[in-house]
Structures are given as C-alpha cells and as structure tokens.
C-alpha cells in the first residue's frame, strides 16, 4: 500500500519503504537512533510515571470530594488549556534549559488530562460497593486497592494509552525547544532538512517500542484485570 502510494507521489515527500529501511538500519548501526530513542524513552518513563501517580491521586480526591473539586475545577480547566508551548517556554525560562525543566514541562502538560479522566471515573464509582466497604470498615487503603482501583481500571487504561501518545507529542516540542538529544531534537533536525525518510524511520522505531509496551505490559495487564468478567 505504502509502496504504491510512494511510487505514485514519486518524490521525496514520501520515500519508498526501502529508503526508510535503509535509513533505519544506518541509524541503528551508527548508534544514533538507539541513543536518541533511549533518551526520549527515559524522559517518557519518568514523566509518565510522575503524571500518572499524581494524576490518579488528585483525580480520585477531586472525584470524591465535591468541595475540593468546586475549588480546583477552574484551575484544572486553566492548566488543561494553557498551550503546551507556553508551559514549556515558561518552564525553560524559569528553570533554565535543564533536564528537570523538560520533565516538569511534560508533566504539567499531561497531568490535567489524567486528573480529568480519573475524576470522571471516580464520580461514576458504585456507591453500593463503597457503602459495603464502609460498613465492613475497609479503611482507606483497602478501599482504594480493592474497591476503587478495579473500577477505575478502564479509565486508567484509557489515560495510559492516550497518555503515552500525548506525552510523546509534547516531549517532541520540549526536546525541540530546549534539549540537544532525544527524538524530538532529531526529528526537528530532519525536519529542517526536510528529510522525510529519516523522520519516518525514527517514527517507526518509536511506534515499535510502544507496540512492544502494549504487547508486553498493557495487554497482559488488561487481561489480568478483566479476568473476572463473565
């Protein structure tokens, strides 16, 4: 399909699969591609972990506490809708062009999304089960682990899947504006040279990694979490 398409367009705007494979191979051999991919993945893992943990915690609290929610709701909408560009610039300007600023920028961009999703999930929790837990004195931790978390599973999965993608979109801008390594930085270079083959090669590498995560982590997790279904 792609090949036919490429032949049809017949230009450097869509290189043939061989070209891309070639570029991909050279990138691997030279160590460039694994290096930049690794750097980006590291940032992704760190910021994803922070954003998910914080986001779930805050989301659950806001979902369960009407007053806090009413208070923070406006802030949430603001943070949700401050352009990535703005947060990134401000982070860099305030904290310098350093790694922690980059991570912070990604987290700030992703966090409100997680909060909003988990908050919706928390609002939809089954009151009957919560009452049961209260009556049998489950306590905070037990209630969270055994009653709330399993119900949030679909929301967490949704946030995870679209979260990886979102972070990846933002990390590119973050790296482009203020880092000297990582996929975003590389893509920007290729972009300046309009080197579509390299762009595609890097994209494919990244997508492959995510596919692997999906296959090795998310799918089994899904399966385990849903094994109780009819």
């Amino acid at each position: 399909m792609w090949q036919g398409f490429a032949a049809y367009l017949n230009s450097n705007t869509l290189p043939s699969p061989e070209t891309v494979a070639n570029v991909f191979w050279q990138g691997c051999v030279s160590g460039q591609l694994p290096f930049h991919l690794g750097v980006t993945l590291l940032r992704l893992v760190v910021s994803f972990t922070i954003a998910m943990l914080l986001g779930c915690a805050i989301g659950i609290v806001l979902g369960r506490n009407k007053k806090l929610d009413a208070f923070f709701d406006n802030w949430l909408v603001i943070f949700l809708n401050v352009p990535a560009l703005v947060t990134i610039i401000l982070c860099y300007v305030w904290f310098g062009l350093v790694e922690s600023a980059a991570i912070l920028a990604v987290v700030i961009n992703k966090l409100p999304n997680v909060i909003v999703t988990i908050r919706e999930g928390t609002r939809a929790l089954d009151q009957d089960l919560l009452d049961m837990a209260r009556c049998y004195r489950f306590g905070k931790r037990k209630t969270l682990v055994h009653v709330i978390w399993p119900q949030l599973h679909p929301f967490v999965m949704g946030a995870t899947r679209s979260g990886l993608a979102l972070i990846w979109k933002i990390i590119l801008v973050v790296e482009l504006l203020g880092r000297s390594n990582g996929m975003g930085y590389q893509l920007h270079l290729f972009f300046q040279l309009f080197d579509v083959a390299s762009i595609l090669a890097y994209t494919i590498a990244f997508v492959a990694v995510i596919q692997l995560i999906e296959l090795l982590v998310l799918k089994p997790l899904d399966k385990k979490a849903l094994r109780w279904r009819r």
Partner: protein, 242 residues
C-alpha cells in the same frame, strides 16, 4: 436491658418529596433477635442503613449502649454487593478486620455448600449463591450487631432452612443483636424474639409483639402456624401487613 435506642424524627431523602421515616422509636435489647415486617418500600432498608452508619443525613439519634460504643456490624444487604473482581473467598476475607483461621471460613463455606465455588468470581455465580456468600461475609466478621435485609430470598427451601438453623446456632454460641427484615411471617415467627410491624411510608412502628414460642419449639411447623393464625385473628392493626 436496652442496648441500642433508635429515635428517628425524620428521614427525608434529598430528592424525595415526603419523609421515608417519621417518628420511629425502637429499642433493641442486647442480644435480641428482632424481625422487621413491613410493606415493600416502607423504609426498612433506609433504617438498616442508618443503623449501620451508612446514612447520617437524618433528623434524630441512635444511642448505642455502654457495652459497645462502636459495635462491629455485619450487614447482609438486600443485594449481595460482592466485589466482582475478587473471588468468593477473597470477598469474605477482605471483610475481616483481623485474620481468622482458615478453618472458620472453610466451615462456613461448607455449611453454605460453597466449598467448590470459593475460587470463583461472583459474576459466575447464581444469584442465590452470591447471596449465600454475602451471608457468610456477615457471619464471618463475628458481629456485635447483625443486620439482615431479606437474606434468604433466592434460596431454595432446604437451603433456607439450613441457613436459618446455622444463623440461630451462631447467635446462640456468641450472642449478638440481630435485626432481620423479612416478608415471610412464618420465617419471622420461627426466628424472632420480637416482631416489629412497620407502617407504609413514612415508616413508624405499628406494633411490637413478643414471640412466646420457646426456642426448642421453633422448628415445629404446627406451633408456628398456630401462632401465625393467632396473630391474624387477634391483631387487627397488623392485618393489612399479612
């Protein structure tokens, strides 16, 4: 000796137009077995929820006797309320506030004919089986106050009989206060020390009747039937409930 004194002046749900409970006074003696009988939708579940501390949005008070300021509560809800993502056994064990020897739960599972099903997830049980799990859960916590909201519906006659016996045995072994909601007068008479008849919404107590049948006569069908007939004849105020 009064153990729990219930005075509910008014319980009106926020979305409701009229009160569900009004001027309900009820005292539970310690270790008493009380059966509540009242029309569908009168407010029995509401009352149990209030006693269980799940609903604090009412006008009135629940006074708990000196013995237990925070009585441990076992509640068989009207629907099973099991955690679908935990197995039968996990559901029971999660309710315990301290680990029990496994034999205790094994014995209860055996008595309820659920030994086979202990590793099964609740969605794969029949409703009657789920109810039995919910009953085991309430028994297993070794409660000070046991609330049971129509616990034996969906159980076939032999099982129901069996569970009734088990309930009485446990109650006699380790006495505790039981509040038991049922629509089955025969069941109520067979189990209760005292019957409380309730009016339609807004709910209040119409009549309280002590069951005079001695405990060792309780599985005598004829004695129960006789008392039932007597109730029907001599208590016109509860006629509309039976």
């Amino acid at each position: 000796m009064t153990d729990i004194q219930i005075n509910i002046n008014n319980k009106t749900y926020p979305t409701a137009t009229k009160p569900s409970i009004a001027n309900l006074e009820l005292s539970l003696n310690s270790n008493e077995f009380i059966c509540l009988v009242g029309p569908s939708g009168c407010g029995k579940t509401t009352l149990l929820n209030i006693i269980a501390g799940l609903d604090n949005d009412y006008d009135g008070e629940i006074l708990v006797g000196r013995r237990h300021t925070h009585p441990k509560i076992g509640y068989v809800f009207q629907n099973p309320r099991l955690l679908p993502w935990r197995t039968v056994r996990e559901n029971i064990e999660l309710a315990l506030d301290r680990p029990q020897p496994p034999e205790v739960i094994d014995a209860l599972l055996g008595a309820m004919q659920l030994t086979q099903a202990q590793q099964v997830y609740p969605e794969r049980l029949s409703l009657g089986m789920s109810r039995r799990v919910a009953i085991i859960r309430a028994f297993a916590v070794d409660p000070d106050v046991l609330l049971m909201d129509e616990p034996f519906v969906s159980l076939d006659a032999p099982t129901a009989r069996h569970v009734r016996e088990l309930l009485l045995k446990l109650w006699q072994q380790r006495p505790h206060t039981v509040l038991f909601v049922t629509h089955d007068l025969r069941e109520a008479v067979a189990l209760a020390d005292r019957l409380v008849f309730l009016s339609a919404t807004p709910m209040r107590a119409i009549s309280e009747i002590i069951v005079p049948i001695p405990r060792n006569e309780r599985n005598n069908e004829l004695a129960i039937e006789a008392f039932r007939q007597q109730l029907l004849q001599h208590h016109p105020e509860i006629k509309q409930l039976l």
